[in-house]
Symmetry: C2
């Protein structure tokens, strides 16, 4: 083959796709190795075990780009990062899908919660400032994660159907309301 992808990379890619969509506990090591067409024992050899492989995929999560912007641009980036549909045929799984899939995991839930608090909730609260910054930031995150939940997990009708533009506009309206209310 003219495809010199190392076995380690094949494992990491397959693990990312499966872990990020189904969740850590719902994916077996044999699921991953079967998908990557690789022997089961190599997971322990290259990554030290299932947990090490999962943590390796966590390092593929990019920083939340919305935090680099300000004001209206911040909101737009934040909304778009959540409202992008998750395409199973694509290699790129939405990182927020991964957070939703693993938040309730009995083994990895703590790690995921820490990622959200440290990487999203706290920096967002510091960024927006003002009265009740923590609560208002949490409200914005509630809107965003709620939207992702409706789309990816519950798959309710009113979310997948319409063109993406209208959905983004509606979420922007809601996001502004989340940050505006200060009690």
């Amino acid at each position: 083959m003219s495809d010199p992808i190392s076995t380690r990379e094949k494992l990491l890619k397959a693990a990312q796709n499966l872990f990020w969509t189904r969740g850590y506990s719902n994916v077996s090591v044999r699921d991953i190795t079967r998908s990557a067409d690789v022997d089961v024992a190599l997971v322990s050899r290259y990554f030290g075990g299932k947990q090490g492989l999962f943590e390796a995929t966590l390092k593929l999560v990019p920083p939340w780009e919305a935090l680099a912007a300000d004001g209206e641009a911040l909101l737009l980036k934040a909304v778009k990062s959540f409202s992008e549909p998750h395409d199973p045929r694509s290699d790129a799984v939405n990182p927020f899908t991964m957070l939703l899939s693993n938040v309730n995991d009995p083994e990895m839930g703590d790690m995921i919660r820490d990622m959200v608090r440290r990487g999203m909730s706290k920096p967002l609260a510091e960024k927006i400032g003002g009265r009740q910054a923590e609560t208002r930031a949490a409200m914005l995150l509630a809107v965003l994660f709620g939207a992702a939940l409706m789309r990816k997990s519950f798959q309710v009708d009113g979310f997948q159907a319409q063109p993406n533009e209208a959905l983004v506009a509606q979420l922007m309206h809601l996001a502004r309301a989340a940050l505006a209310y200060d009690g």
Copy 2:
């Protein structure tokens, strides 16, 4: 003992507590029987197996009371039903916690998604009516489930701390915004 609770009830109660908080796949039959102080085999005898026991707990889910109200009262009931904290020492587990815990389950996810669509999303859309009723209903649900997610799953700081009254007021503000926007 002066406690004539039947074994079947003990099993159902323990199953409800464990299934609704940890999720179907993350609870073993032996976890339940150990918690209920009952033999493992009785699950299959009384409920036909693990799946039957889970479905028996699903019948304990009450209908969504918010759907019986109208206008502002509907919103208030809806918000309160979600924003009530989940107390692990209490016997009454919030049904929406159960939905969040089981929506990503590989075996029971379909059933849970159907419950939300048929019991919440569609009747709510019919109730509110107007333009884009489905999408606006989905937006309201996104706010509510997002709030529950922030509280129960992510446990972000800005949500648990403050008095419940302020949180309800803020969520009401957001819920009105969700239903008001019609494109």
